[in-house]
Every structure is written in structure tokens, then in C-alpha cells.
């Protein structure tokens, strides 16, 4: 099947306006007749649910959390980008577009990224009107700060809890629609499979997590806004419940999975402290506005008290290597640099896997109160977790899995290759290429939910007869039966090992072989080992209890079973992509002294080396059946406006 991204023709800056003008509309009386199923209630799902309900559609919204307000969007700290140019520092829609495209290492679509930059300005207006308390200046106007990969201040923020405030705005809009009767909310309800009728996604099968009841829901379209798959690594900054199940089940029902190897490792997280650890905690990238990252120049200083190491013995390696972006270099670059200095034995803290993030100079320059005002809650969080005072000694940080750029393949309308299935937010693949810039996830989630899907969903619905498919269709009964059997299987294995023990084993393997740096041998080894772990999982898993009440082990078992298969797809994609780009760093593909780009000073040895002639495509994997290798399809990326170049932040 040929992949048609359906990018509107015409000049880049006119595409979205043209598309809106040309798209079909559904009249208000007919909107009521359409039922839309939305899985996930974070920024993308919540915004879509609220907005589609305002438009008149009947919405059923599902989330595994006990309340839609708890979706993991809530944990985003730093901010949200928008090309408002309130700072008069030369920002524009084009510049935000260009920064995002370049930040993604030229592996995303021009059309989608431009649209994202375009609607970013509407998001800020919408959120302020909802009562989102963004930071303000004394004149009463909105404040901004800078984030990685940008040389302008375009990031709007709400202390260190921008995600929470945006999600509350979105959640309140959603609850308003619940009150108005347009949205039926299903909390503590987990999607366990998708139902396809005559080649169209027409419903889902869910489990009520409190009673264990398995049931079907039919709709005229299915929207997945189920977030990313970072928890495949076990340790990540994701919430414990985040999972790939909804997306992976859709994949097994025919939706293509794109670029699963693009995973973002965030440079500023609290280092791992022991094998009991259940998750990693992010310290916002915004800290890099004022914090300086360094390690000792000499490995023998790594154990010394940092305050005793004079400036002359410190290596502020980001400032040294990337003088124009310095500590605000993009995430992939900052993370790899941290790994490099730790590999050289200059890492600090227990285990030597850490670098310093130092506020000494900022505190001397601005005073402790100013720093407390900007980052107070982050400093408090650091102190609570580590038991150390970051006002007195530098923080220790290390990269951790944070975000996944890959996701289900979608076209310009956010529709998958499987008609009727639409994918929003982190769960799709379309806007961030091989690396996402900071403060762009919130932007994309809300852009998709508030402004894109309300227009593009009608393109699909216009060709559908509302309510044509009900749960009486035999396809629903069949999928329900599969789900029941699978659930029972988990309970019946009665082996010896817990779900978490398998998850940790898988996660460690993937972090080692498909983490910050990858190579052919390692990936091949992982592809051999994953099926072995999976085999043991299905033989030796222990899920206590039964399926008829709240059973968290059973919930985890379903998610980890899907991670076991998905991890393999991720390694396969990483193996196929014989280049380095953004978050995907293949050790075989880096610049060396011999390259002309290094000789001319454009880049340095060790930087990621793309191969645009062979890999300027988005991979789209098709599930081919149990024990069969997936089939690779390619969407060639076309660059009409921007010529892909060596991504330099020097």
C-alpha cells in the first residue's frame, strides 16, 4: 500500500488555510449523530474531547487513571512554545517551524511542522482564556523564557508545572462538556483492543479496572491519544501506568507503526541510585537557562567535593563544544555529551554516571531569591529525592528516557493508514522527526486536540453514515472473546516471576542495546534475546488473584506483554536505519576527522551523521502476523522549502 501523507498542495504558508477552506463540513444537526471514541485524556485527548463535544459530536472518552486530570501530560514542567514574538526578538511562525524541523534532524514533514508552528499562537490565547496562570511580568503581560535548540525566548511557562496548568485548563473544559452532556467519561477503564469492521476502525474493547468487566464500545471514528512508549525501558520519566498497549493493539489490527527507534533521552534527570528504583525524575530543561553543566577536567577529581574544584579544573563541556547554544543545546546532543564524559571516567556521584548542573554563578549574579522564584519547586523536588541542598552544592544529573518521537503513522489529517483511526499527540509520529525540542510536546498535544482534529476529522466523517456499526457486529464479539482469553491466560500461567521482574529485564536490555547509542551487533543481540525473555514471560509469569476486581498485577501483565513484542519492533527499526539522526545514534555512523564537514569546521568528530540519500524517509512497519517479520514501508520525506543540512549548534 502506498503511503499518501495527503499534504495539501501550494506554498507552505498557505497549506493549512487552503486545507481548512477545502475540507468538507458536517452540519450541526448531523454532528449529534456521530459518536467519537477517544482513548486518553491528556492534552491531546482531553482537548479533542472537549472541542469535539463543543462542536456537537457525541464523545466517549476513556482513561486508565481514576480521573482525566491525572494523565501524564500533567508532569511536563518547563513550558510550551508559541511563535507570538511578544519579546520582539525576531521570532516568527517560520522560525519556529525551521527550529522544529532542524531540531528533528530533518526527519519530519514540512507541512505538518509548519501547521504546528502556525496554530501555536492560538493555543496560548485559548489557554489564557481558560484561566491558565502563565507567568507574567509586572506590567501584567505574559513572560517568556528560552529552551534548547532556539535562540529566541518563545516559551510560555507556569512556574515548573506548565503541563499541570495546561492540563487543568483542558480537564476543566472537558468536565464542562461532561456537565453539558456531550462527553461521557470512562475513568479507570483500559482499552485492551481495537475493533475493525470492513477495514475501518469502528470501536474498542475495554476492561473496567474496578470490576474486571470486559465490554465493547462502537463509534464512527476512533481517536487514540494514548501517549508514548518510553516505559518499554522500565526506567523512564513516564508515569508508571504509561504504556504502548492501545497503539500496539491498533498496530496489530493493521495500523502502521512509524519510526519506533526514535526515542528521546532527556539530559537532565536525577541519576539512578539503586536497583529498587521504580522511575526516574526529570529536572526541567528550563534549569539550563541558568544552570551550567560541567564535569571535572581530570578523572581523579570526580570524587572530590564539587565546591572545592576551582573553575580552571572544570570542563563546562557544552559551552566549550557548542559556544553559540551552550547549555541550551538540544536534548539529544546534551545527552550524548553527558554519556561521553562519563564514559571517559569523568562522571560524578555514586557509580560515576552523573554530571553537575551548577547554579553557583546564577545565584551570585541574581541572588538566591530570584532563583527560588524561577525554579523553587524543582529545587525542592531535587532536595526531597536526593536529600541534598541544590542551593549549596550543584545538582547531579544524568540522561533518562523521556519521550518517544515514533508512533503510529498518520497523514496530514492525523488519520492512520487504517481508515477511521486517528492518532493524536505523542502517540503519533508526525511532527518531531528524530528529536523533539523542549516545550514542543505540550504544543503538539494541544495543537492536535484543539485545532487540528476538529477540522480534519470531518474529512473522514463526511463519507460515513453515522451509527452504521454497532456492538452487535460479529467483529466485536470475536475481539471481546480474544481479550477474555488473553486475560485468563495471564492468570492461568501461575509461574514464579512477577511482571516487574520481566519488565526490568527487558528494560535493561533495551537501555543497553537500543538506548543512547546503538550498533549493529548490539541490536542483533537484543533481537535474539527479546524472544527468549518473552518466551519465559509466557511460561513463568505469576499474576495473583482473579480478573473480577481491581488487580494491578493483571493490568501490568497486559502492558508488559505488549512491550515484549514492541521492543523487538523498536530494535528492528534501529537496525534498519543505518545512519545517525537525532535521538537515534548509530555508533557506526558518526563524523570523523576524515570527513570534509569536519575539515571545514562545520561539525566535529563524533557528531551524528545522517545519510539523506538513503534514509530521508519515515519508516512505517506493517504487522504481518505472529512469528513473521513485520513489513517495512517507507514514506519519502520531501523538502521543498528547507534544504536539509548538517545540524550544527556550534
Amino acid at each position: 500500500m502506498a503511503l499518501d501523507a495527503k499534504i495539501p498542495s501550494g506554498p507552505l504558508q498557505d497549506k493549512w488555510a487552503k486545507h481548512k477552506r477545502d475540507s468538507k463540513l458536517i452540519n450541526p444537526a448531523n454532528k449529534r449523530k456521530f459518536t467519537i471514541i477517544i482513548v486518553g485524556s491528556g492534552l491531546a485527548g482531553g482537548a479533542a474531547a472537549a472541542t469535539l463535544s463543543e462542536l456537537g459530536y457525541k464523545v466517549k472518552c476513556f482513561c486508565y487513571q481514576d480521573s482525566p486530570r491525572r494523565a501524564h501530560s500533567i508532569a511536563a514542567q518547563g513550558g510550551i512554545n508559541a511563535a507570538k514574538n511578544y519579546q520582539n526578538d525576531g521570532d516568527s511562525v517560520y522560525r519556529l517551524f525551521y527550529d522544529t524541523l532542524k531540531g528533528g534532524d530533518f526527519r519530519s514533514r514540512e507541512g505538518n511542522v509548519y501547521r504546528l508552528a502556525e496554530v501555536s499562537v492560538n493555543i496560548i490565547d485559548q489557554c489564557v482564556a481558560q484561566g491558565v496562570p502563565f507567568a507574567r511580568e509586572y506590567g501584567g503581560l505574559l513572560a517568556n523564557r528560552s529552551f534548547g535548540g532556539a535562540q529566541v525566548s518563545r516559551t510560555f511557562y507556569a512556574r515548573g508545572q506548565t503541563g499541570q496548568q495546561l492540563l487543568l485548563g483542558c480537564y476543566q473544559a472537558l468536565e464542562k462538556e461532561v456537565h453539558n452532556g456531550g462527553v461521557q467519561m470512562y475513568p479507570r477503564t483500559e482499552m485492551l483492543d481495537m475493533v475493525v469492521v470492513d477495514g475501518h476502525a469502528k470501536g474498542i474493547v475495554v476492561r473496567d479496572m474496578q470490576t474486571g468487566e470486559i465490554s465493547s464500545h462502537a463509534g464512527d471514528a476512533v481517536l487514540l491519544a494514548t501517549g508514548g512508549y518510553g516505559n518499554v525501558f522500565f526506567l523512564s520519566t513516564n508515569a508508571k501506568g504509561c504504556n504502548v498497549t492501545a497503539a500496539y493493539r491498533a498496530h496489530k489490527r493493521g495500523a502502521y507503526f512509524s519510526n519506533p527507534c526514535y526515542t528521546q533521552i532527556h539530559p537532565t534527570c536525577i541519576p539512578v541510585s539503586g536497583d529498587y528504583q521504580s522511575k526516574l525524575t526529570l529536572m526541567s530543561e528550563s534549569l539550563r537557562n541558568d544552570g551550567r553543566i560541567w564535569v571535572p577536567k581530570k578523572a581523579e577529581d570526580a570524587k572530590k567535593n564539587p565546591n572545592d574544584i576551582p573553575d580552571s579544573d572544570r570542563d563546562y563541556y557544552l559551552e566549550r563544544k557548542y559556544p553559540s547554544f551552550g547549555n541550551l543545546s538540544p536534548r539529544d546532543i546534551a545527552s550524548r555529551s553527558a554519556k561521553e564524559v562519563c564514559d571517559e571516567g569523568r562522571g560524578v556521584g555514586p557509580g560515576g554516571r552523573g554530571v553537575y548542573l551548577d547554579f553557583r554563578d546564577a545565584i551570585n549574579r541574581l541572588g538566591e531569591d530570584a532563583i527560588r522564584n524561577r525554579y523553587g519547586n524543582l529545587f525542592q523536588m531535587y532536595a526531597k529525592i536526593t536529600g541534598e541542598n541544590p542551593y549549596k552544592a550543584p545538582m547531579r544529573i544524568y540522561p533518562a528516557v523521556h519521550y518517544t518521537m515514533g508512533g503510529l503513522w498518520v497523514d496530514y489529517n492525523l488519520m492512520s493508514n487504517l481508515p477511521g483511526l486517528h492518532v493524536l499527540g505523542e502517540a503519533n509520529f508526525s511532527d518531531h522527526g528524530a528529536n523533539r525540542l523542549g516545550a514542543s510536546a505540550l504544543m503538539q498535544g494541544l495543537a492536535d486536540g484543539y485545532f487540528v482534529i476538529p477540522v480534519t476529522l470531518a474529512v473522514y466523517l463526511a463519507g460515513q453514515k453515522p451509527g452504521a456499526v454497532t456492538t452487535d457486529a460479529p467483529e466485536f464479539k470475536a475481539v471481546e472473546e480474544e481479550v477474555r482469553t488473553r486475560t485468563k491466560t495471564f492468570l492461568d500461567i501461575k509461574g514464579k516471576r512477577s511482571v516487574d521482574s520481566f519488565h526490568r529485564e527487558l528494560g535493561l536490555l533495551l537501555w543497553d542495546k537500543c538506548g543512547m547509542a546503538r550498533n549493529k551487533a548490539g541490536l542483533e543481540e537484543a533481537l535474539k534475546k527479546i524472544p527468549e525473555i518473552r518466551e519465559e514471560f509466557w511460561q513463568n509469569l505469576r499474576v495473583p488473584g482473579n480478573g473480577t476486581n481491581l488487580n494491578q498485577e493483571l493490568e501490568k501483565a497486559g502492558r508488559v506483554a505488549d512491550f515484549m513484542e514492541f521492543g523487538e519492533l523498536m530494535c528492528r527499526d534501529a537496525l534498519d536505519r543505518e545512519e545517525s539522526c537525532g535521538g537515534h545514534f548509530r555508533e557506526e555512523h558518526q563524523f570523523t576527522e576524515a570527513d570534509p564537514e569536519v575539515k571545514s569546521g562545520t561539525t566535529q568528530p563524533g557528531e551524528a551523521k545522517r545519510h539523506d540519500d538513503k534514509f530521508a524517509y519515515a519508516s512505517a512497519w506493517e504487522y504481518a502476523g505472529k512469528d513473521k517479520p513485520p513489513v517495512l514501508h517507507k514514506e519519502e520525506l520531501v523538502f521543498d522549502t528547507v534544504k536539509p543540512s548538517v545540524r550544527s549548534y556550534q
Binding site: T51, Q126, G131, P133, G140, L142, Q172, E175, Y276, S498
Partner: protein, 250 residues
């Protein structure tokens, strides 16, 4: 460190519950409280038992999912943190720790330490929002907001909806939660048009859910992981009184 845990176990909403004694062995003091429970559960599973069910998700103190009453105090002995941010270094080797759910009539137990807090969603649905349709917003800088007001509104907006305020209150009153939402929205110019109907609707929903009222114990303020001030309750009372009078006159 080694600890003795006294944990509330309850099979389901209608089952009778009881305290169970569980030994927690070899717990690293760097572990978080929930990681301690993970270790305990891992062992229970290995030994063929039923692991303790408890709510948690982000494990960084922002989603509001975790909800334990530890030694009688919602979110435990540390100030200004949720249970997931509480670390074992706050306890001593050999301690006995009592772990119960957040108790309130309006928060029925689902299983073990998990409770149903959907009453909070219904309170928000009753009026905890500003009615603005997507796409109808004016320019974000069109309406300057005094920084002081914006900051006060923000302080209230930091509420994570965990329900500790209810669990700590002898009346099981959610006034800190309701007051925080009211202050967040009512202090902003965007929230003014719906101020009266907002406070009336939210307070009425709160009563309908079976929550109690505030009688000035301020236990809520003491346990709030976001350290929201009980001032929001005073403001809510004033706004509610004014709105009621206006409603009576109209």
C-alpha cells in the same frame, strides 16, 4: 532497614476489611515510600500471596494519584510532599508503620488502599471552569493581569486534587479543594463573569456528594502536599455568602 507494616486490606467495596501485619525487610533508605511497597509486593508475589493494591502513577508528586494515610497522617510525616515523594530516610530501622487509605464517606474504598475520588470530578464539572469555546479566545496579551493577582491565583491553582484535605478533616470537608479551584478562577478577570454561579454550583455539588463542611480545624492546610493556604476557604465563604444573597434578591 527492617520495618513492621500494619496495612489495611479489603477485597472490594462491599467486603469487610482488616489490618494485616507485614514485615518489610532490607529496605534501602534512599527508596521512596512507594518503592518500599514495591519491594514488599515483589516478595508477597514470590511467596504466592496477594500484593497490596495502592494508587500511584507519576511518582513525582504532581498527578495526585497516590493517596495513603501513613501513621494517621495523609501523605505521611514529611511536609509539603505527596506519598510518592516521601523517602524512607524519614523513618528509622525497626519502626512500625500504619498504612491506611484516605478515609471519607465520599471516598469509598475500591480495594485495599485504593479509594474512589470521582466526587472531585463531579464538583469540577458542576462549575470549576471558565466557559470558553475553543477558538473564541482573544489575544493572550489583550488583558494584562496584575502580577500579584496572577500569583495568588497560581498559588491556588497548584492543587493536584489528591484529596488529602478531605482525609485529614474530622468533617471530611473538601473546602480546601473547592476553595482552591474557586480562588484560582475567581481571582482572574477571565473568571469573573461566572463567579457567582461557579461557587454556588460547586458548593452544592460538594454537599450532594456527602462531604462535610469546614469548622476551622485547618488540618487540611497542614497536610496539603502543595501547601495551599486555608485563606482560600475564607475567600470561598465570602464569595458563597455574596452569591447566595444576590441569588435571593434576584
Amino acid at each position: 532497614m527492617n520495618l513492621t507494616l500494619k496495612i489495611w486490606r479489603q477485597e472490594g467495596p462491599d467486603a469487610k476489611g482488616q489490618m494485616q501485619t507485614v514485615e518489610a525487610r532490607d529496605i534501602p533508605e534512599e527508596a521512596s515510600f512507594l518503592e518500599m511497597l514495591d519491594i514488599v509486593n515483589e516478595r508477597i508475589i514470590e511467596e504466592g500471596g496477594d500484593p497490596v493494591q495502592f494508587d500511584h502513577d507519576c511518582r513525582e508528586g504532581i498527578c495526585g494519584t497516590c493517596s495513603l494515610t501513613i501513621n494517621g497522617v495523609p501523605h505521611g510525616p514529611d511536609n509539603g510532599v505527596t506519598t510518592c515523594q516521601l523517602h524512607m530516610r524519614k523513618f528509622r530501622d525497626g519502626d512500625t508503620i500504619w498504612i491506611e487509605p484516605f478515609r471519607a464517606k465520599a471516598f469509598p474504598v475500591v480495594r485495599d488502599l485504593v479509594v474512589d475520588r470521582s466526587a472531585f470530578d463531579r464538583i469540577i464539572a458542576a462549575g470549576g471552569y471558565i466557559s470558553v469555546r475553543t477558538g473564541s479566545a482573544p489575544d493572550a496579551n489583550g488583558l494584562p493581569i496584575e502580577k500579584d493577582h496572577a500569583d495568588q491565583s497560581f498559588d491556588a491553582a497548584t492543587c493536584i486534587g489528591c484529596g488529602a484535605c478531605v482525609a485529614a478533616c474530622p468533617n471530611a470537608s473538601p473546602m480546601l479543594f473547592v476553595g482552591a479551584k474557586a480562588s484560582h478562577l475567581n481571582l482572574l478577570p477571565q473568571g469573573k463573569p461566572e463567579l457567582d454561579i461557579r461557587v454556588l454550583a460547586m458548593v452544592r455539588q460538594m454537599d450532594a456528594e456527602g462531604f462535610g463542611n469546614c469548622t476551622n480545624h485547618y488540618e487540611c492546610e497542614g497536610v496539603c502536599p502543595k501547601e495551599i493556604s486555608a485563606d482560600v476557604i475564607a475567600r470561598l465563604n465570602r464569595e458563597y455568602a455574596c452569591a447566595s444573597v444576590k441569588e435571593g434578591v434576584a
